[in-house]
Symmetry: D2
Subunit: 145 residues, 4 copies
């Protein structure tokens, strides 16, 4: 995301999608940027056999990736610039089963150079959705890393 | 990992390798269980283009996966049973570049049902290795989840 | 908090207040249990010179205490029993100045033995309130520690 | 801590002690800066009735304060300047009983503006010492907050 003037919401969303599409790992794992707004981002991933651990649940590392990436995009959209996750913390509260895993992140506070964001990760199927993980992290402007 | 008697170190290592090999995501991403011991585990991943983010560094989500999995194995090996990561926290301290990413986890304290472990994640190439991330987490016996 | 039957909200609040009043440190530091509900607790502390660090802001350790205690009470009220904080994470986002520091915690998910809670800490004066810290933690039933 | 030239270890220790003594909360709670070095700090607190929670253990908030402050000093001593804790995470692994609580922090990595530190908190009596908590946090130079 560029830092000239103040981009409109639509411009910001377009920039976020551009960065998302430029992440090889994100493309490889098959994640999808569902929704973006100023300070929020939803990233979804369809459950597939190769994303699982030994008990058939989606691997915690996949959940971590989704939370990490949603936090980064929510923070970057709040900061209005390319961003990195400086640190995060995640609680896994329930085995992740279902058709789709959705990480929904939003900013809590933002300064010039940092945003603190929270993220709920849901697993959903036709019966509804359940929270499987809860994360909190610090997102920094990319150049300040 | 079974809970009969107290397995020998070699048995414990064999059980850990069995669980590792039974994780579809771990196989898919190509991680390798390098070293295991009572309360410690090293997991490595060769850097490949599809593991990267938009700036060419290994994606933070991949680093998170490695730390998460190393923490789980270190904790499971300390607990002597199949284990899950209940929660963890990770600091990304340097962009991850290099040939190999190595997550090295070890237990700090262990009770009957929980272990608290720390993990250093290194990126290495022919010039040496550098710490790229630092993690701490709680590992619980699998049945207590 | 006892575990017989299911206590009413009023009983639960009374039990929480009893535990709060039985904490010597809480009495010594002068904290006040403002509000309690099923899965939420607000704890306030009037800013005094002896609570500060070298720059005149409320010490981060005091903010940590408030968040820690609010998380424990929110979790205990959700679990319906005496509880301990197993772990938490806190981000300090702004120097804490003002007349009153308020930690407002609420439960996000709860199982039989554990709750994951979040907490916002505010500093307020006559001009309004500002978030100074954001926390997330795991609260366990006391006997399971 | 000033940022002229590079202070000697003895100067750095003296500066750290000056800041420690200038923290009203630290004086009020009665903490003691035991040891300092480049990137490490030990802070101790004698157990007293007013530091406890409802079961007679040292309150988790007191443990958090000790870890928080030890992390800040370890980080500040690594950064060579006045520092603040940007965030930290703490696991409470055992009830804190004993005569003295000691938080021992050391730096893991440091850049120009930030240090990531870890801290073990011990409770000790005449029979020895036990780990009661484990923390990890980010310490930033004070002016960059």
């Amino acid at each position: 995301m560029n830092e000239q003037a103040s981009p409109s919401d639509a411009e910001l969303a377009a920039i976020a999608r551009g960065i998302f599409d430029a992440q090889p790992f994100t493309q490889w794992i098959g994640a999808e940027l569902r929704e973006v707004g100023r300070g929020r981002a939803d990233i979804a991933l369809r459950n597939r056999p190769e994303l699982r651990q030994q008990h058939g649940f989606v691997h915690g590392g996949v959940i971590s990736y989704l939370a990490d990436n949603a936090l980064t995009f929510a923070g970057g959209l709040a900061l209005g610039g390319d961003a990195v996750t400086a640190e995060h913390k995640i609680n896994f509260v329930r085995p992740a089963v279902g058709d789709v895993i959705l990480a929904r992140a939003s900013v809590i506070t933002v300064t010039k150079s940092q945003a603190v964001c929270q993220c709920l990760v849901y697993a959903s199927d036709r019966n509804g959705e359940k929270i499987v993980a809860i994360a909190q992290g610090t997102i920094s402007k990319a150049h300040s890393r």
